[in-house]
Each structure stands twice: as structure tokens, then as C-alpha cells.
């Protein structure tokens, strides 16, 4: 059934090669993947400026500020996900390679998260502390953002695939992805709030984990379908 490939590469190896290639390409352009991180920092800085800089007040607001900023900067990063590869035709090559496209897109999404999501998670302790979170809350904040940002990248991949090559893709992408991200936002912010209040945060974390697993299984399939349609 599958189209014969000139050099038989197993899907696993192809995914790994794709990860290496994308990482190498991404690291060559630090300006691009650092932008979401800077954006995240700027937005979280704006929150205290726009409201009350009292630490006790900030602490109540910290989960919301962290998650809205994380959501917006992941949205900002999404445009980078398929744009280059869509323009130079390498995405088309992946689609006709005979390898499962969903798997390859999952690999691409993982690299995208490594470059744009992970720096944001790593910066979160500083931001959370600045917003008044106690030190003991940092592991919880990190865990929630780690799970949440992966899920946001996975969901975003579907939107990025659908808007691939559209002229006014940016705002549309936000309109498509934001409603789908509502559950992540709710459970993530709730888990963070519980962590900052130093209370057990297992319940929202389980739900966040369930959404992450569901997205990891279904989102690549939908993204692959979307990319194939966009490439037609």
C-alpha cells in the first residue's frame, strides 16, 4: 500500500533525523525562537504595572497573568511552526515521503516546543517569584506550565496546519486556537493557583495530564489531515 521510498528509512529514524534537522535550523536563528520568551517576559511585566504592585495582590493575580501570557506567547510562536517548511516545500516532501505524516509532524511539534515552550517554562520561576509566589511553590508552577505548554503546542499545530499559506493567517490562527485552549487555561491556572497557595494540586494536574495525553494522540492526526489539505 505505501509508496515505495527511494531509501527505506524507518519512521522512528526519520522522526529522529527530523528532530535533529529542525533543532539545528532553529538554533541557527536564535532571534526567532527567543521572541516568544521575550514577549512572555514583557507581558508578565505589564501586569503589575497595569494593576497594583502590592505583593499580596499580585500573588492572587499571578496564575492568571502567567497563563494568559503563556497562551499568548505560544500563539505568537505558532506561526513559526510550519511557515518556513511550507514556503520552501520541505513540508510537501514530508507529505509525499510515504512515512506517516502525523508522526513527522509530532516530531516537528516537539522541536517547536523545545525551542519556544521550554524557555518559557524555564523563565517561569523568575516571573512567578517576581509576582509574589513563594519559593516552595516553584516546582508546582513548573510542572503545571510544563504539561500545559506541551498541550498548547500540540493543539496549536492543528491550527497552524489549517492556516498554512493563508494571507491573513495570524489573527485567524488566534481565533481558531484560543477557544480550543480554554480547558488547558482553566486547569493550568487552577493548578498554578493551588501551587502558589501551597495546597495540593493533584486534581487539576490529573485533568491537565489527561488533556495532554488526548492531545498527543489526536492532535497530530488532525494536524496531518490539515497540512495535507493545505498543501493540495
Amino acid at each position: 500500500m505505501t509508496a515505495p521510498t527511494p531509501t527505506a528509512v524507518s519512521p522512528g529514524r526519520a522522526g529522529w533525523l527530523l528532530v535533529l534537522r529542525d533543532l539545528r535550523l532553529g538554533l541557527r536563528r536564535p532571534g526567532e525562537w527567543l521572541q516568544p520568551l521575550v514577549f512572555f517576559l514583557v507581558v508578565t511585566t505589564l501586569f503589575p504595572l497595569a494593576t497594583d504592585p502590592q505583593m499580596s495582590r499580585l500573588r492572587d493575580m499571578a496564575p492568571g497573568a502567567l497563563w494568559v501570557a503563556a497562551l499568548l506567547s505560544s500563539l505568537l510562536a505558532l506561526e513559526l511552526l510550519f511557515r518556513e517548511d511550507g514556503q520552501d516545500g520541505s513540508l510537501e516532501q514530508l507529505a509525499v515521503s510515504g512515512l506517516p505524516l502525523s508522526w513527522l509532524l509530532l516530531a516537528k511539534t516537539c522541536v517547536h516546543w523545545l525551542l519556544t515552550g521550554l524557555p518559557l517554562v524555564l523563565a517561569a520561576p523568575i516571573v512567578a517569584t517576581a509576582l509574589g509566589a513563594p519559593y516552595a511553590a516553584i516546582p508546582g508552577v513548573l510542572a503545571a506550565l510544563l504539561l500545559g505548554s506541551v498541550t498548547l503546542s500540540l493543539i496549536g499545530a492543528v491550527g497552524a496546519g489549517l492556516t498554512l499559506g493563508l494571507r491573513r493567517g495570524g489573527v485567524l490562527l488566534a481565533l481558531l486556537v484560543l477557544p480550543l485552549a480554554v480547558p488547558v487555561l482553566i486547569f493550568g491556572a487552577r493548578a498554578t493557583a493551588l501551587a502558589i497557595a501551597l495546597e495540593p494540586m493533584a486534581a487539576p494536574m490529573y485533568l491537565l495530564g489527561a488533556i495532554a495525553v488526548l492531545s498527543a494522540t489526536l492532535a497530530p492526526l488532525a494536524a496531518a489531515a490539515a497540512v495535507r489539505i493545505s498543501l493540495e
Binding site: L166, L175, P179, F187, A226, S230
Partner: protein, 247 residues
């Protein structure tokens, strides 16, 4: 099980003709159901013992809310059928759902907030149902935005179908998460209508109104779908016969 009717519906000329014949039926039945439902709901039904006459908003609010979800379900199923069997007519039906569904959502939100003012004391409460209705409106707007951004009809059909299907998987999760989120912030709201606790004098008009809205939706859907079918099948010969243009 005979599937011939289904395959025949997939043929655009047949669909165009059948749909055109069905529209007046749906429209008239919707009108009759709406009139009887309104007489029952605004006239005969007794006032609610808690909310007095104010509860009568239910006869437009609940049908609109139900139809907003139903329209999304129809849209997603039609989109799925269109995607799997590459059926143009199904895509035409899916494309016709979005605008009507979005209007139902808007009506449900507006009447809900008008109902909330006397009952909760505020036009907008972050009530789980109102909140998920708002997210549903955004989903509709996203669907229409995607469709509008793609010029090629075939691509717009298939891309928006994927979006509709992703949305339909997400809707229960969104609904559940909003429910969960809200239960942390506030107690049960005043408005609780269990079906069992509702006397037949209120329930029958409500069901009639739901029927009327459903039939209305079917009629609007078919009118719009006929137009969409015409747009998709521009150069076929049957069109000139269907629109009464004798060659």
C-alpha cells in the same frame, strides 16, 4: 437496510429538488408549532412559583440554546460525511449550518443575560452554561473565519471540516472544564429546571417551541444548502433546468 435514498441525496440535482420541496413543509409546520407553543407558553402556562412571570423567557432561551448545540452537531456530522465520502452535498450542508448556529448562540446569550438580570441581579454571570455558550460562539466564528479566508471552495470545505471535527471533540471537554471551574467559584445558581419538576403545562409549550425551532432550522438549512449546492456545481447542465432557465 436500504441506503439508496442516502446515495441519491448525495447527487446535487436530486438534493436540490427534494430540498426545495421540503422547505415549505418545514416552514409551515414550524409556524404552527411556534404559534401553539407561544399561546401555551405566554398564555396558558401558570406563573412559576419562584420566578413569577419572568421565567417565560425559557420558551425562547432554551430552544435557542439547544439549537445552537444541535446546529454544531449537524455541522460536524455533515462535515465528517463530506470529508470521508468526499460528498459535495454534505459539505454544502455543513457550510450552511455555521451562520444560523452562530445566530442561535447569540440569541441564547442575549436572552440568557436578560433572564439573568432579574434572577441573578446581573446581566452577565460567569455561569458555566453561559460561558460554554460563549466559547461555542467563538468556535462558530473561527469556523466562518477559516471558511472566509480560503478562496478555493474545495479546500475551504475540507479544512473547515477538520476544524469542525476537532471542535466537536473539544466541546464536551470545554463544557466539563467550565463546569468544574465554575463549581469552585460559586454555589449553585438560582435557576434550576429539572425536567421532572416541571408541570406539563410548562413542559408541553417548551417542547413545542423546541420542535418549532428545530423545524425552522431545518427549513433555513435547506434553503441555504440549495444555494451552496448551486455555487458548487456551477457548470453542470442540470442547473439551467433546475432554475427554470429553458435553453
Amino acid at each position: 437496510m436500504n441506503w439508496i435514498w442516502f446515495h441519491r441525496l448525495g447527487s446535487p440535482p436530486h438534493f436540490f429538488r427534494i430540498a426545495g420541496k421540503m422547505v415549505p413543509w418545514f416552514a409551515w409546520l414550524a409556524g404552527i408549532a411556534a404559534v401553539t407553543g407561544l399561546v401555551g407558553g405566554l398564555g396558558l402556562a401558570p406563573p412559576d412559583y419562584q420566578q413569577g412571570e419572568g421565567y417565560r423567557i425559557i420558551f425562547v432561551h432554551v430552544p435557542a440554546a439547544v439549537l445552537s448545540t444541535l446546529a454544531y452537531a449537524v455541522m460536524a456530522s455533515a462535515a465528517g460525511v463530506g470529508l470521508i465520502w468526499r460528498m459535495n452535498v454534505a459539505h454544502a450542508v455543513a457550510a450552511s449550518c455555521a451562520a444560523v448556529g452562530a445566530w442561535f448562540t447569540l440569541v441564547a446569550l442575549a436572552t440568557g443575560s436578560l433572564w439573568g438580570r432579574p434572577m441573578w441581579g446581573t446581566y452577565w454571570e460567569w455561569d458555566p452554561r453561559l460561558t460554554s455558550e460563549l466559547v461555542l460562539l467563538f468556535l462558530y466564528l473561527g469556523y466562518m473565519g477559516l471558511r472566509g479566508a480560503i478562496d478555493d471552495t474545495a479546500r475551504a470545505d475540507r479544512a473547515s471540516a477538520v476544524l469542525a471535527l476537532v471542535g466537536v471533540i473539544n466541546l464536551p471537554i470545554i463544557h466539563y472544564s467550565v463546569d468544574w471551574w465554575n463549581s469552585l467559584h460559586q454555589g449553585h445558581t438560582l435557576l434550576k429546571f429539572g425536567k421532572a419538576s416541571m408541570p406539563p403545562s410548562m413542559l408541553v409549550p417548551l417542547l413545542l417551541m423546541m420542535l418549532a425551532f428545530t423545524l425552522y432550522f431545518a427549513a433555513i438549512l435547506l434553503v441555504r444548502a440549495r444555494g451552496e449546492v448551486l455555487r458548487r456545481e456551477r457548470n453542470a447542465r442540470w442547473i439551467s433546468e433546475a432554475i427554470g432557465e429553458r435553453p
